[in-house]
Point group: C2
Chain length 136, copies 2
């Protein structure tokens, strides 16, 4: 099998493994993958609904629903903009932040387990190669 096929295959399988891991961890904390992504963004930002849609690659109506469900569960709140009354900012609550941090820590642990067989050189090479892909 060619190196090209190997690379395609390995990237697809790795992505399913990582997403599956993240999805399982989210479920253990009563969250969906989408809610975890949301929390990951809100940990460092207070975006508008519009900006959230751009970050997540979702339609504005999808963002409305996502934020609705998160708000209903007390994970986020909506805060009207003071400068433009059409605009709404989304803010993570203390509870939402705590959950996001728990899932983040659990994910880091899982990655540690998954990469236990890698040498330090492997890890550096992986971070370097993946980083180059992500720049695009």
């Amino acid at each position: 099998m060619s190196d090209r096929t190997d690379l395609v295959d390995v990237l697809a399988r790795l992505s399913f493994l990582v997403q599956g891991t993240l999805s399982d961890l989210a479920a253990e904390h009563g969250l969906s993958l989408a809610q975890v992504r949301l929390g990951g963004i809100l940990r460092d930002h207070e975006p508008t609904m519009n900006e959230l849609g751009q970050h997540l690659g979702l339609d504005k109506s999808s963002v409305s629903g996502l934020v609705d469900r998160a708000e209903r569960r007390g994970l986020v709140v909506r805060r009207p903009s003071t400068s433009d009354r059409r605009v709404v900012h989304v803010i993570i609550t203390a509870e939402g932040r705590a959950l996001a941090e728990q899932v983040g820590a659990a994910f880091a642990d899982q990655v540690e387990t998954l990469t236990a067989n890698l040498t330090a050189t492997d890890r550096r090479a992986l971070v370097r190669a993946a980083g180059r892909i992500l720049i695009t």
Copy 2:
């Protein structure tokens, strides 16, 4: 930032990038990610519903729905087992196979684009490191 954090971050982001790419390609062909996964398995196997659930990590009721929708679109057929009348095998149709192959080829092209900046050494290192993770 520590190497450990880098690795966690890079794996998460890479998985979202690859899954997003695959999901977009699937959508361009009128398919969902789940249907593409299904097609990927059925290209090489004729599993029972039960086996399919294990491969995909889904409940049997979820598999029923997934196969229902694929069958309704002419991508797969159900074939009763001859040896055990409780069992159903899932078979990909010619149309389903053609679609799966189109998406697979488009994905390979996209990976080629995404990894255009990688040196041959980077690629080998990535395949090696990812392979070691996947063994687990």
